[in-house]
Subunit: 860 residues, 2 copies
């Protein structure tokens, strides 16, 4: 019986509200508004809601309206099936509305999923109408109305019409069937576990609701590196269960499929896309799928890329491959997304003309016009791979007769993996607003991908979301802004990054002006901050590109076939991609764009080393040399990251303590990681260039004491790889049960912060204790889950002991206790004065060595 079946969901929801601010409700918190606001909205809101028609999405829309109003205003709207002779909120498609309430005369043209919010007077009665071209539009309209209330916007005299910018607003999940997620940082898969669909899909429904609130209308549910089992007949019921969980929210399920399926799964001798047997197999499979999932959105296909099977095996083109599957989907209205992320990862790095950036355009531009009308080429925002900064892919301008969609990455693969605060909307805006000047000036990328520029029937936005089972979905509270931001941009890319940040902050943390101003400022600066301390000037994220894509590893991209080269050597740095002297990549752009990038005079500093190889001593537009700019920006970035901690601390008491503590811990971690990045990159370039930092900072760290130079008991010195990831290139490891590293303080007496830089590998939980004399002043466990088993910049992290009074002669001793192969490794300790404010009136003058005693108390 339905009521019984749905009971569990209700009870779970109630429990979620009592368990506090976990982040699971994200931007749909519907917290009670202030009393004054409640009074205002109660006046403006009718008591009755009239859902027109019996559609499932209308039902969801009406339920959401009740839920939101109950949460924010504390009252339960009444539901009626006909427009009553009293004020009411009327929900329905335009067709239903014309039938049920012709007197309203709502006559507008709306794109699919678009809606109107309109206040209509009929005599003295006031109606609030949410009408749309289709049911999903009604749902979008209800979410928009609730958002207005949550944001404190007037709903008194509504007259709004919204249509989505593009028909495609999808997310991709890179979930493996075993429940892991490739490049996912928010926990295990909400869809899969141990090779099968999860029994409890409640989080899928919750995710569908979050997506629906943004107007996102499709979601691929498995890794683009697809398991061919996805299409197996006995697996289809599992897919159908997920579709059922999404369906009330108008989110279409999409499957990532393997081009090799006809052979691997179907038992054919070939998967040659032009083979009639293969085409027949695809058709039979699609028919079977659509019988189980009639609203399936389609397929996404990654072929001939990073080892995946592809049409090249039979000398066929990508168009052949795409069309084979697309023709099977076409009768059902399904789309075939073909990823343009195709490149040779065995490029010869010794050939200076080779360039991975060339690949997408080279592969797909010649095929323009050969793709069927239900094929969409899914193009990453930049020519490489979600780096911290890339120019827009020239392929956006290179397809006139082919549908395209931009692929943005919500999951922060190269941008801090939810451990670093990076609000990606400004980065995405940089691409979407970029004027490709094709077919003419004033053609931003968003217009190209939406199909507006060349009047294509399909087009839009795909975001790689990778949410997981963690309460906060993303692995951090603030990273939710990226999922929200993607959805809002996909609906309307003309929204500013600031407006989206402000909406998200208000919805997530309430309308306290100080909270809103502070969080918005932090969000808006965060991309630049991260870029500055990782890879500025178009260097890209200077990370381990063949591994975890996380910590610093300046040379990891060089001298291998993966082609993410920056070509730094002892004389200079940068990839010469010019037509004149380089790889010719610039020539893929329309001429007016190429003219900008080809010329050093015009090329913006932010991308200069992406397009040009420059000597370290070359001067940028800023007037500074390349090398000094690298130094300065890394110091700027690290300083900005450390200031986030202060910014956030200024919100103590204004943000619920649960999220306050979580975010503070994250920002403290980030501040430490930014210092690791700063030092790694600047030291690497110092060694490469041999040119000293004009500010005298790089290589000189006042107050820093290298572990390898301390008095060691048990600890052994070990080199770290890459060398730049540890200060001085070395750390110490404990090969005994317990080791210590100590020093005698000979600085001035005063209050100091002690920062221990240690390595928290993911293979054990070692322990650390810090003593000053015989007094234990700090202890902690190395129990974070950083993405590194070895000693490097990914496992390097720090613990700060905020304020301890030191005086000359004090012995400072760090003890490490290894665990499970994690050897309690230490890089250094920094001893930083706390400043006059903290010193107080206690003047610490004496320099005698003092006898201390243990202060280790049971409850301390």
């Amino acid at each position: 019986m339905r009521a019984v079946k749905l009971w569990a969901a209700f009870v779970l929801l109630a429990a979620a509200n009592l368990e506090g601010e976990t982040g699971q409700r994200a931007w749909l918190r519907y917290s009670r508004l202030d009393d004054a606001e409640v009074r205002t909205y109660r006046k403006d809101l009718p008591a009755v809601v009239v859902p027109l028609g019996q559609g499932l999405l209308i039902h969801s829309a009406q339920g959401e309206l009740l839920r939101g109003v109950r949460g924010m205003l504390g009252q339960t709207l009444r539901v009626e099936s006909k427009v009553p002779p009293e004020g009411a909120i009327v929900l329905g498609t335009l067709d239903e509305l014309r039938r049920a309430a012709p007197q309203f005369h709502v006559a507008v043209r709306l794109a699919p999923d678009g809606y109107v919010l309109k206040t209509i007077y009929a005599g003295k009665l006031r109606y609030t109408v949410v009408a749309a071209a289709n049911e999903r539009g009604v749902l979008c309209g209800v979410f928009a109305l609730l958002r207005k209330i949550a944001l404190g916007q007037s709903i008194h005299g509504l007259d709004e019409k919204e249509s989505p910018y593009a028909p495609i607003r999808w997310v991709n999940q890179w979930d493996n069937l075993d429940g892991s997620i490739e490049r996912g940082y928010g926990g295990r898969s909400i869809f899969w576990d141990d090779g099968h669909v999860r029994s409890d899909l409640s989080r899928v429904g919750d995710f569908g609701r979050l997506l629906a609130s943004l107007g996102v209308n499709g979601c691929s549910i498995n890794n683009v590196n697809a398991d061919s089992r996805m299409l197996a007949s006995d697996f289809i019921p599992e897919v159908a269960r997920i579709a059922e969980a999404f369906r009330p929210w108008g989110v279409q399920v999409v499957l990532a499929v393997d081009l090799g399926s006809p052979k691997i799964l179907g038992g054919l001798e070939t998967f040659d896309p032009v083979d009639p047997q293969v085409a027949a197999w695809w058709k039979t499979k699609a028919d079977e799928l659509y019988r189980a999932v009639p609203d399936l959105g389609g397929f996404v296909m990654k072929a001939d890329s990073e080892g995946r099977a592809g049409p090249s095996a039979y000398g066929r083109t990508h168009a052949d491959a795409a069309n084979a599957a697309a023709r099977a989907l076409a009768p059902h209205g399904g789309l075939l997304f073909y990823r343009a992320f195709v490149y040779d990862h065995h490029l010869d790095w010794r050939n200076l003309k080779n360039d991975r950036a060339l690949a997408a355009y080279d592969n797909f531009h010649p095929l323009d016009g050969q793709f069927d009308s239900n094929v969409v080429i899914q193009i990453k925002n930049g020519p490489i791979d979600f780096q911290v900064r890339e120019p827009a892919s020239p392929l956006f301008g290179g397809l006139r007769k082919t549908n395209q969609a931009v692929e943005l990455q919500i999951t922060q693969e190269y941008t801090g993996q939810s451990r670093h605060l990076v609000y990606l909307v400004p980065m995405w805006k940089a691409t979407l607003d970029f004027d490709m000047r094709e077919p003419r000036a004033g053609t931003p990328v968003k217009a190209l991908v939406a199909g507006k520029a060349f009047d294509r029937p399909e087009g839009g936005f795909v975001g790689v979301a990778n949410v997981g089972l963690d309460d906060d979905w993303m692995g951090s509270q603030l990273s939710q802004a990226n999922l929200y931001g993607f959805g809002r941009l996909a609906w309307n890319p003309d929204l500013s990054a600031r407006q989206i940040a402000e909406e998200w902050t208000r919805l997530g943390f309430g309308n306290d002006p100080k909270v809103v101003a502070t969080v918005v400022r932090m969000l808006l600066g965060s991309w630049r901050t991260y870029e500055n301390y990782t890879g500025p000037l178009g260097l890209q994220t200077l990370t381990d590109v063949t591994g975890n894509h996380y910590g610093p590893a300046v040379e990891a991209s060089e001298r291998n076939g993966w082609g993410q080269w920056h070509r730094a050597d002892e004389r200079g740095v940068g990839m010469d991609r010019t037509v004149a002297t380089g790889t010719g990549f610039v020539g893929q752009y329309p001429a007016p764009v190429a003219a900008i990038y080809e010329s050093l005079a015009n090329c913006p500093d932010d991308l200069v080393l992406f397009f040009h190889h420059l000597p370290y001593t070359a001067r940028l537009h800023s007037g500074k040399t390349v090398i000094q700019t690298i130094y300065d920006l890394h110091y700027d970035g690290e300083r900005a990251a450390s200031e986030y901690v202060n910014d956030w601390e200024s919100l103590r008491g204004r943000v619920d303590s649960q999220r306050y503590d979580q975010v503070l811990a994250q920002l403290n971690y980030q501040a430490g990681a930014a210092e690791v990045w700063r030092d790694a990159v600047t030291n690497w370039f110092l060694r490469a260039s041999g040119i000293a930092d004009g500010e005298g900072r790089v290589g000189r760290y006042p107050g820093r004491f290298e572990a390898e130079k301390m008095r060691l008991e048990g600890y052994m010195v070990t080199p770290v790889t890459p060398w730049e990831d540890a200060s001085g290139g070395q750390a110490v490891e404990c090969l005994e049960k317990r080791c210590s590293a100590s020093l005698t303080w000979d600085g001035a007496a005063g209050w100091y912060a002690l920062r221990v830089q240690y390595f928290d590998q993911n293979k054990g939980v070692s322990r650390f204790l810090v003593w000053v004399g015989n007094q234990l002043v700090g202890k902690w466990l190395a129990d974070d889950h950083l993405p590194a088993a070895k000693l490097d910049g990914s496992s390097s992290t720090r613990h700060t002991i905020a304020a301890v009074a030191l005086r000359p002669g004090d012995e400072i001793r760090i003890e490490g206790v290894p665990d499970g192969g994690e050897l309690a490794a230490i890089d250094y300790i920094e001893i930083q004065p706390r400043g006059r404010e903290a010193t107080g009136t206690a003047i610490l003058r004496h320099s005698r060595a003092v006898r201390l005693r243990s202060v280790f108390t049971p409850s301390d």
Copy 2:
């Protein structure tokens, strides 16, 4: 190794801070102060702490100081063993201080556990000295210093001297060895589980710290209805483990013992207290105990009471019984607490001269002078048993040559069991400040119990705490104020109830003025509120005195041997306890006090029915009749309870959401329970007296619809016992799988709150759904743990659906789904207009019956 052993505690503590505001840290939260406060205190606080001596409590004091300063100010003090040539905080006993720093010239007289906080200048150096007569005093002083910082008080020029008012400041726990707690509302025992000491005693250490912060110096660890196993030789190591957990906090373990132990446990043929074998057994046992627990505080003994073994079995006196055990304790400095709670619970109620109130004085006054000097008579505050209001026990004035202590009940046995907000400090103050005029006017009870009036060596305060394993210790967040209040009063009973309430609120919820003002106001009014809706005018708590002591049951005290009679009949109410015409109890008081209570002209209204039997038409000092006063006060109390909800809601956003939600749920429950109480008592007196409420309220409930009068499908009408606990004396129960009760609304159209009064028994989790037409407007589980298996005022509770728009013709239907013997019983539904403010502009005029459809959505 010590460090390793203590590691767990440190990690747990860190985790506790991250898990949010559970209440476990109680008033020792040490939350970071505002930046401005931090700066001020950092200036005033030296960097160094010098603990003098090696004592365990000095060690705890120093650790607590570090912990508190680290939490509130974010810095780690340095520990030195000698007074340094710089400013420092110096901790130590006066003896140690004279040895280590004779230059400080601290010469004061302090009682044991008393302390001085003193700023001392030595040249330009400033020292903060915490000194005391003994180590526990130093610990008390450190907690006082930290409390000052948390409260925002200046610590610049300290010159304070504090001594405790009395030497005995103990708590009793009524924990059974199986892990249950008699009259405990905060979860299972922190000491015992399944017949043995718990393996994890971390909560015992935490509790010891809470007690130490108040200066409480002893804790009995088992029920006064004692299991004789407590003294078994093989059990003593278990006791010793608890003593070890308490010892760092200076809290002495006390055992409740059974007078019958020599026979039951020792195998003697008698437990006759004057038998030499018995005396020898007690001595041997005490010696054995003190070998294992050298700092044992002593015993507490309940004998000849409520079925316990006692000296009467051998024709001996209470003095014989007490002295037998006391002489065994004396060589070790142990105390024997003998409870004065001795009465005949087979009293003949037909004899109007019988009076349980007489018992304590009658039993113990004649023995004055016969108790050894280490015996303390433990006297409940009133002559009955922790009722909502009682006069002070006359026994306080009846012992001149015997030590005494007052027994106060922190656990809210008769005062709402942590479900109702009742701040007990004003009630305790009423007793402690009561002038017993013995030996002379100006002798408050506190002076008598502290031994000051008759210069006794021992005396003081015992509180029945009954904390448990629940995160919040007490079963509710706000009930912690009672534990705090008891400790503060035991230290200094001259503190005002307001000052204690304000301290507790600031320590627990911070210094936001609105929070402080609101919570303090709620606390201070709460006892009077609870008294008003339960048993005003000295009627005592009109509850089931032979059962759960919780819900209303006006006649439960009558016509049985337990003697908690109020003698209400058709003509009048009250116990005549006068000398002239009643039981003569008034004569136990010193003459000047007796003169007050004997005379109707002098007896205060608050206690008038405790001392006098009055016709319902008698007029009180207020000028109102007795019966009208009963009516009015119950309505006053219910209204005040419902206003707590509004008070608390005004703090939304100012209190962490975790505790905010918990307390709000509790106050909502209380508001409903207060209505049950109000109606039960007023209807009972209406029926008894036959006199109508002059205000026309009792028996008339506009908007209330009795379930038994609704259209029932499946539901059967059932009588409720006692009849006054259900509206109309009846409820409906569902004997099928699902039942419904419905009505057709014929009131005006508008916004209404729907309040369903149902029964949540403790034997199942039934479900309820409320529909208006076909629209589900509310659903919930009856999953509270109220103390009743049957239908009565203890299981009666309500669910409110805040605001629904109704119009004439609407069908309102309550569906119940029984579970596990709980029959989804309903008493009534109240439909209350929400007022103009809530109605808004939607004028609901039409009265047609509307067709509605289900609005039950998956995620709603």
